[in-house]
């Protein structure tokens, strides 16, 4: 379901104007295992809440620095829309972290490391002139690679009826699908920005080469950490295992590995462009019906 052909029942929407949507989520009744009886599935998806608040603030930081270099008004508008959407995403996932903290689940040790990676290791590094510009573009290549993966995951979230069937918490599903739909909606912006400022194939691929192994590693580490921290799991149930993943993905509760691998490989095609896959029409149709987007202040 990460592939294009499964999302073809929707309309073509070209030249969509990107604007952030105000949203409101209420987590007070969120159960710890919001996919009932599936702690592993819950925590695998929960890793998003650990990575995204810092990650998306970092995107905003880097994109804001790139604004003065953009020489195309349409692209600049899209980048500004992207920045607003990512800001709201970061804030919404932070809301889940704050809810956990209030319940006594401490994610600080993990989040501290993520913050360090994005804002120190991948931060501005006190560079000047040419080196500063190249480091900016290098980070844009990394963001373009991450955005390819998030669009893939967003498309999966929009096409994941198995989660509804498993009785997953509707507010959390709405967060995932609202976010996923906006990822699909703005999937070309980071790629187009990198292309505008550099665009060389090998540099784009270097971005993906460093991105996917680190993302996979952080994800595995995040699941292990969350299972161990989960106060409702005891003894052997605290241990994350690969076979849990394969079992869950066979039941369509998590994106299957072969489709993720194929999706990452598609990014290596010289003629790859994000708009060649997934459906803006489907994303827009979901966003019109998202309870969180319709509940926000008028």
């Amino acid at each position: 379901m990460l592939r294009r052909r499964n999302t073809s029942g929707y309309r073509t929407v070209d030249n969509l104007v990107l604007t952030p949507r105000d949203v409101a989520f209420d987590w007070t009744s969120l159960p710890t295992h919001w996919v009932p009886g599936e702690p592993f599935v819950t925590h695998t998806i929960n890793v998003l809440h650990l990575l995204l608040p810092a990650g998306e603030r970092w995107f905003v930081d880097v994109f804001t620095q790139a604004l003065p270099y953009i020489k195309d008004d349409k692209l600049r508008e899209e980048v500004l829309g992207f920045i607003g959407q990512e800001t709201i995403h970061a804030r919404s996932h932070q809301g889940v972290l704050d809810h956990w903290k209030a319940k006594g689940i401490d994610t600080d040790p993990y989040v501290r490391q993520i913050d360090w990676m994005f804002f120190t290791a991948l931060g501005d590094r006190d560079l000047i002139s040419k080196r500063r510009e190249e480091w900016l573009i290098e980070r844009l290549a990394i963001i373009a690679a991450i955005e390819h993966i998030t669009a893939m995951l967003g498309n999966w979230a929009l096409n994941s009826p198995a989660l509804d069937a498993a009785g997953a918490d509707p507010t959390m599903l709405d967060l995932l699908r609202w976010h996923g739909a906006e990822e699909v909606e703005h999937r070309a912006v980071a790629f187009d920005l990198f292309t505008h400022l550099d665009g060389r194939y090998l540099r784009r691929i270097r971005g993906m080469t460093v991105t996917w192994p680190v993302m996979l590693w952080l994800w595995v580490r995040g699941v292990v950490f969350l299972m161990r921290t989960d106060p409702e799991l005891t003894g052997r149930r605290k241990k994350a295992r690969w076979r849990y993943y394969f079992r869950a993905s066979r039941r369509h509760l998590l994106p299957p590995a072969n489709e993720i691998v194929r999706g990452v490989l598609r990014y290596h095609r010289p003629r790859y462009h994000p708009l060649k896959e997934f459906s803006t029409g489907q994303a827009v149709a979901y966003l019109a019906s998202s309870p969180a987007a319709n509940a926000a202040a008028v």
């Binding site: 029942g9 929707y10 309309r11 073509t12 929407v13 070209d14 030249n15 969509l16 104007v17 604007t19 952030p20 105000d22 804001t64 604004l67 003065p68 270099y69 020489k71 195309d72 008004d73 349409k74 692209l75 500004l80 829309g81 920045i83 607003g84 959407q85 800001t87 709201i88 040790p109 993990y110 501290r112 490391q113 913050d115 360090w116 990676m117 120190t120 290791a121 590094r125 560079l127 080196r131 510009e133 190249e134 480091w135 573009i137 290098e138 505008h196 400022l197 060389r200 680190v214 950490f225 803006t280 489907q282 827009v284 149709a285 019109a288 019906s289 319709n294 509940a295 926000a296 202040a297």
Partner: protein, 360 residues
């Protein structure tokens, strides 16, 4: 990453820096070193020219104060394709820029049609009405879509279209498409009076049972709940009209039978109860005057093109700017009290009176 920046402690609470993160930091340092060589033969960013020069082919009176303009390419070639809900940005000879929804037939690739209501205070609409005639050349950009018509191709429930006055323009192609597709639909079209409502002739060609014309002078001003009464269970609502109409529909929507709501996303809503004020840009050493009906952002953007902003409605916080002096009338809904003590969102917030100095 300056010297002495060590990785944070590991996940098990031991105090030494996490070994794998220390390694990751070193790998990222290598990446930065590799990147520093990439300036060699890096292509330069190319400016994009997206202007289209179109010829006005036909001007028609559509209502007492509304006209439509048909635009074609000078050499008769095909124009960029568009879908219902799209608009053009028109660059008027005076330098004004206005957005107008496309209201023609998306399948006709040789012409665009826009319709414009003449507003008493709208310099742009007056200019189009008074000085644009067949044969005039207009510079346009787009099409762009801020109001996509994107239900599933196999509809599960019907559509309710709500149009107020000139808001019929993006709705018209949607209604025609829904009618062709045979999905169940209803249109409620409001306006001051029949004479002021454009495209009634084109709507009369559609199924009369599905079209409700409700001029205020005959039916009064409908509430959001009244407009949504027609919505079948599970319907998608498409709404375009004056700001109070959209606000009342958004407010009444959660209690209605419909499940999806699509409205034109105005990025910058009108300024309400604004007073003119001065804003001093400390770093650029400039003082700008913000008129009563324009946001500070709009004025600052002209002086500082790279200034970040996004929602233009005071909820995303992208345009938060440090305030150096002055009393701010905070109109956002994102900043905390602590943040408000030393900063403002320039997209909506204004002065309480007197000059504001910001760090720009």
């Amino acid at each position: 990453m300056g010297a002495g920046t060590v990785a944070p402690p590991d996940l098990r609470g031991r105090q030494h820096p996490d070994r794998l993160f220390t390694l990751l930091g070193k790998l990222i340092t290598v990446l930065e070193w590799l990147a520093s060589g990439s300036y060699i033969r890096r292509p330069q960013a190319q400016p994009a020219d997206r202007d289209l020069q179109l010829v006005v082919d036909e001007v028609r009176v559509e209502a007492s104060d509304a006209r439509s303009f048909r635009l074609v390419a000078a050499n008769g070639t095909e124009l960029p394709r568009w879908q219902p809900g799209s608009h053009l940005e028109v660059l008027l000879p005076s330098g004004r820029r206005r957005h107008y929804s496309l209201c023609g037939d998306p399948a006709d690739r040789r012409c665009y049609r826009i319709a414009v209501r003449r507003l008493a205070d709208g310099g742009g609409s007056q200019e189009l009405h008074d000085s644009v005639e067949p044969g005039s050349i207009l510079t346009v950009r787009g099409p762009r879509n801020a109001f996509p018509y994107a239900p599933p191709l196999v509809p599960t429930a019907g559509y309710l279209f709500l149009a107020g006055g000139i808001g019929i323009t993006p709705i018209l192609p949607m209604v025609k498409q829904a009618a062709v597709e045979g999905a169940p639909w209803q249109l409620v079209y409001t306006g001051r009076s029949q004479a002021s409502m454009p495209f009634l002739d084109e709507l009369s060609e559609l199924d009369a049972d599905r079209v409700q014309i409700r001029p205020y002078d005959e039916h009064g001003f409908p509430s959001g709940a009244q407009l949504l009464e027609q919505a079948p269970a599970g319907a998608t609502v498409y709404c375009c009209g004056p700001a109070p109409m959209i606000a009342s529909v958004r407010e009444a929507f959660p209690a209605s039978a419909a499940t999806a709501l699509q409205f034109e996303r105005f990025t910058a809503p009108p300024v309400i109860d604004g007073e003119p004020f001065e804003i001093a840009l400390q770093r650029s050493k400039r003082v700008l005057t913000v008129p009563a009906d324009v946001s500070a952002l709009e004025i600052i953007r002209q002086a500082v093109p790279g200034v970040p902003y996004s929602c233009q409605q005071g909820f995303c916080g992208t345009c938060r700017t440090r305030v150096l002096s002055g009393e701010v009338d905070h109109r956002d809904r994102v900043l905390t009290d602590q943040e408000r003590a030393d900063s403002m969102t320039i997209c909506v917030s204004r002065s309480r009176g007197g000059r504001i100095a910001v760090d720009l």
